[in-house]
């Protein structure tokens, strides 16, 4: 519980620093102080369209994440466990990885609608993160652990379930915290650059209407959403990884 208090303290400290900076050095016309942003944020919380937008954004995030996790884990294990596949595809993957999906949006519009493109944006970016974390996690599998499983003639699947998967899990825990944020950020981007309905589009609309206080209020709330998702990811991680050194140490601290 001390952890929760410290986290709140950190947020409060950052908020104070922002307030001071915004009041002393920046013009409230375009960087409004928190004292203006917070009431606006509270007002938004009472508005139905805010919740509708949040719902849409979270739905995009959820669908994108599920696709990314499923496809990423599958691809990661396939690439990591079959060296030939890995070697044959690595150059192609290295080529595809840095291609920014944003550039391809006009082409994607030909076959998908804006909502689908946003989901795709989320899924693709998170997919890469999951794949690479799995690939690196697989390299961490202990030799003796594998030899033990092989000696007792555990099959390939059993080895994955009992040995490889638990080793990769901490890497996936890191991935999970990364991708919940990336997913939210890209769901917003979908709204910002394409107008896909949701929080991103609301932020865009506030910007385009010169409503910087409203925009900052939305950013504040979106960040809050990010914190919420992160907490969920951490909770999942602590449950799944209770045996892991890092979690053990945390429990002591």
């Amino acid at each position: 519980m001390r952890r929760g208090w410290l986290g709140a303290l950190g947020l409060a400290g950052a908020a104070t620093a922002y307030e001071i900076l915004a009041r002393l050095f920046l013009d409230p016309a375009y960087v409004p102080p928190l004292s203006a942003v917070v009431p606006e944020a509270l007002r938004l919380l009472t508005e139905e369209r805010f919740w509708a937008a949040t719902g849409r954004t979270l739905a995009t995030v959820a669908v994108g994440l599920v696709i990314a996790l499923a496809a990423g884990i599958l691809a990661g294990f396939a690439l990591g466990s079959v060296p030939q596949v890995r070697r044959a595809t690595s150059s192609t993957l290295d080529f595809l990885r840095p291609v920014p999906s944003i550039v391809l949006i006009p082409v994607l519009v030909l076959v998908l609608d804006v909502r689908q493109i946003t989901v795709l944006l989320v899924a693709v970016s998170c997919f890469w993160i999951v794949v690479f974390q799995v690939l690196y996690g697989l390299r961490d599998v202990d030799r003796v652990a594998v030899e033990t499983a092989r000696a007792f003639r555990l099959g390939r699947l059993a080895r994955i379930v009992h040995v490889t998967w638990p080793t990769v899990l901490p890497y996936l825990g890191t991935a999970l915290r990364l991708i919940v944020s990336v997913a939210l950020a890209l769901a917003l981007t979908g709204g910002l650059v394409m107008g896909a309905a949701g929080l991103g589009e609301m932020i865009w609309s506030s910007q385009e209407s010169g409503e910087s206080t409203g925009m900052y209020a939305l950013v504040l709330l979106t960040g809050g959403l990010g914190i919420g998702l992160d907490q969920l990811a951490r909770l999942a991680e602590r449950r799944l990884l209770h045996w892991h050194v890092a979690t053990r140490r945390e429990a002591l601290a």
Binding site: A145, E147, A151, F152, L154, A158, P166, W243, H244
Partner: protein
């Protein structure tokens, strides 16, 4: 007795950028079905390497291992292993009970039978109360005993043990020795047992194989003609036991250890 394991002309060289070591040359050894062979030799002579080759976990540089007549290219069925690195061979994400149970899960056993095997094995190594603990909550000796329990519960046809009692106290060690001896007799297992304790090698085995230091082949192969029924105090104080241990000692000391101070 038919021969279960034929090790023919095995040689092993580890090659790496920094360092190439020729560890084993021309190892020839045959182990019969149901035999209990102890393997002794100085630290770093290649005992673990040989065990891993026999288990089909490491390819030999030259030579061949046959198990039940078939060349070994992967771990043969019915193999149980206790690794020297017992700590790393336990899964941190599984409880003690789950660790012991894992190899049993792909055998054709009822769930109740599996539970029973696991419970018996844990009781046998004195860890009946630690089933729900995780390996990292155990002392070194306790971890080693979990690894032993896992192999024992599996009832393997061939059991390879690499210094399995190195981390336990003298009393426990004696108890575990008797446990292994009992199981060996009861289930007719074949056991290859690496140890640094020459008394233990003689006490347990039917044959002590001595590996030499440096690039080594089999330096000596000493049959242990003690009566089948052995017992810690009586057997160890018998005259024949004394003679045999001296014989093994002499062989072990004969290995050139020029490096030692």
């Amino acid at each position: 007795m038919t021969s279960l394991l034929e090790i023919a002309g095995i040689g092993k060289t580890y090659r790496a950028r920094e360092r190439t070591v020729e560890v084993l040359t021309a190892i020839d050894l045959t182990v019969s079905e149901g035999e209990f062979v102890a393997l002794v030799g100085p630290s770093g002579c290649g005992k673990t390497t040989l065990l891993k080759i026999v288990a089909g976990l490491l390819p030999a540089t030259v030579g061949q291992v046959r198990f039940g007549g078939r060349p070994v290219t992967e771990p043969p069925p019915g193999l149980g292993v206790v690794f020297q690195e017992y700590g790393r061979s336990l899964y941190a994400w599984k409880t003690v009970r789950q660790n012991v149970e894992l190899p049993l899960r792909h055998l054709d056993l009822s769930r109740a039978r599996r539970r029973e095997l696991v419970a018996d094995a844990l009781d046998a190594v004195g860890l009946g109360a630690a089933g729900d603990a995780y390996p990292w909550q155990l002392s070194g000796g306790m971890q080693q005993r979990v690894a032993i329990a896992r192999a024992v519960a599996y009832r393997p046809r061939l059991l390879l043990m690499d210094e399995p009692f190195s981390a336990v106290d003298a009393q426990t060690r004696a108890d575990l020795e008797d446990l292994v001896a009992t199981l060996w007799k009861r289930y007719g297992m074949t056991i290859v047992f690496v140890t640094h304790d020459i008394d233990e090698a003689v006490y347990l085995s039917q044959r002590v194989v001595v590996l030499g230091a440096g690039v080594s082949g089999v330096q000596a192969d000493i049959p242990v003609d003690l009566p089948a029924d052995r017992e810690q105090i009586g057997t160890r104080s018998s005259a024949r036991f004394g003679e045999l241990r001296t014989r093994v000692w002499t062989q072990v000391r004969r290995t050139p250890e020029s490096e030692m101070v």
